[in-house]
Symmetry: C2
Subunit: 300 residues, 2 copies
């Protein structure tokens, strides 16, 4: 069995994780979380989201958080951008890397961002073009690649079509999200084998939620297809506020534990990560969902 | 990728699950749990343990539980036996199938059952011989096959040696237990490839605890080696009272969800299983650890 010798982990806890928590985390603590994750060894971190503070109050003041980070060289600090307004905010705070998102089904797109896939992709194309003129790098997300909470089955062809477009628009990476966590390993292999035919393997990331406990098995399947960019969330924080029943990204801790066991390099120090997981769990007043961290209560 | 077309699931919740719970479940409810699991479609169920009620009070009266089960034809109802005294009790309640257990390290064996592996294997040989004279079927367990809480690394050769002996003594199945849940997928593949060389694949089961969140990925790896007998526990109940930090078997629900997704037949009805998981979780006054069940709170 051939597996990658190293992977790039994209830590999404400070954005995808926190945006779904009932407890608001202060600006100072959001900055501290990001700094600690960088210290753990993550070279790509989602730092916040430039969306309406009315809609997602947890992500208010993401510019201020961003401006307080001591950016390390060669690291990606990613800001999520939903529309033109978000892009303007990203430009004004001199963000170097942004992320844009679309969904693999019209039903989810309409529910989540109130427009069809086509309308959303046209907007994304404009945003990516403008961002690249400002020398920003752009990461692309596709939601619901393995199942949709409204429509059920998702067409692989549709995911491939969107991945190809995002890449063509200029995204340096396309992250495939199993937003509601319903995928299983052979489905993952089938999807990735298809997407690999339309964009380079080096540009494909997986982003799995653990709603049905499947995410680590799915990541092991993804590794077998050669994928080596993986999104994960410290402490297993996350979910999607607009996807009924969805809860929790794959935790960075359980993922790093597996990758260590597979002798796949991540650059992340697991002990520091566990300590960081307890740090954010305490601030949120909830236990980590990461089993590795729960089993290391002594490091609390 | 070649996977088995069907698997046999061995539901260990009523024994390995309940033995570790702080809440005592009544005899009537233990019987009801077993009946419901049989109704779900499990054809092999661990029903109890013939050990000292002082030591494991949760398993007191296992004979009475056993005698109240309406046994279905061709189903295995397994009673754990620790020693000669346990065997005598198994004989007196006319158990048809028993299970015996050893550990892959002396350190664990000494801590768990206060004797070395050699002493324990001599006792097992005698028990299996006597059981077979009474026409009982005997299942064998090996603990700590992927790591030991006291000694750390476990020798694959030792696991192979013990598996070969259990099979030679007359065990119809050898269940390989990652008691403390530290294994990762390639380690699983390496171990199983080795064990397959000494006993038939059809007689090898895997028994993984989810202490570090690895068990479903490990099972997906095991399936890729052709293994098609898997132990799991309703609601993710379990752990090992003698293994520090160990907590929870792989939940039957998350496992069946994955197997359904892989189009691997189990004979188990997932909806009934989820309902049974809520039933036992309510009795124990704790939430299920099975993510599939938590995501199906509406079935509560």
């Amino acid at each position: 069995m051939e597996l990658p010798s190293q992977v790039k982990l994209v830590e999404v806890g400070p954005r995808d994780g926190l945006q779904n928590q009932p407890v608001m985390v202060s600006i100072a603590h959001r900055v501290e979380l990001i700094e600690r994750l960088a210290q753990c060894g993550f070279s790509a971190i989602e730092t916040g989201s430039l969306v309406s503070a009315q809609r997602i109050p947890q992500m208010a003041n993401s510019e201020i958080v961003y401006q307080h980070i001591h950016q390390r060289p060669n690291a990606e600090y990613i800001m999520l951008v939903a529309n033109q307004q978000g892009l303007a905010r990203a430009i004004s705070c001199q963000a170097k890397t942004i992320a844009v998102f679309c969904a693999a089904t019209d039903a989810f797109s309409l529910n989540n961002i109130h427009c069809s896939i086509d309308v959303s992709m046209a907007s994304i194309q404009t945003i990516v073009g403008q961002a690249k003129e400002k020398n920003m790098a752009v990461r692309g997300y596709i939601s619901c690649v393995l199942g949709c909470p409204f429509q059920g089955v998702v067409q692989i062809d549709k995911v491939c079509e969107l991945a190809a477009k995002l890449y063509e628009y200029g995204c340096y990476e396309v992250s495939l999200g199993d937003t509601i966590g319903v995928g299983t390993p052979l489905q993952v292999i089938e999807l990735l084998s298809a997407v690999k035919k339309v964009i380079p393997t080096d540009t494909i990331a997986v982003h799995f939620h653990d709603t049905y406990g499947q995410s680590l098995a799915n990541i092991f399947a993804a590794l077998q297809t050669g994928i080596h960019i993986i999104d994960s969330s410290v402490s297993g924080l996350g979910g999607c506020p607009f996807a009924p029943g969805a809860s929790g990204n794959i935790s960075s801790e359980d993922l790093v534990f597996m990758l260590n066991g597979l002798s796949i390099k991540t650059g992340v120090n697991l002990d520091e990560l566990i300590a960081t997981s307890w740090f954010i769990a305490d601030l949120l007043d909830r236990p980590p969902t990461a089993k590795v961290t729960l089993a290391n209560a002594a490091k609390h």
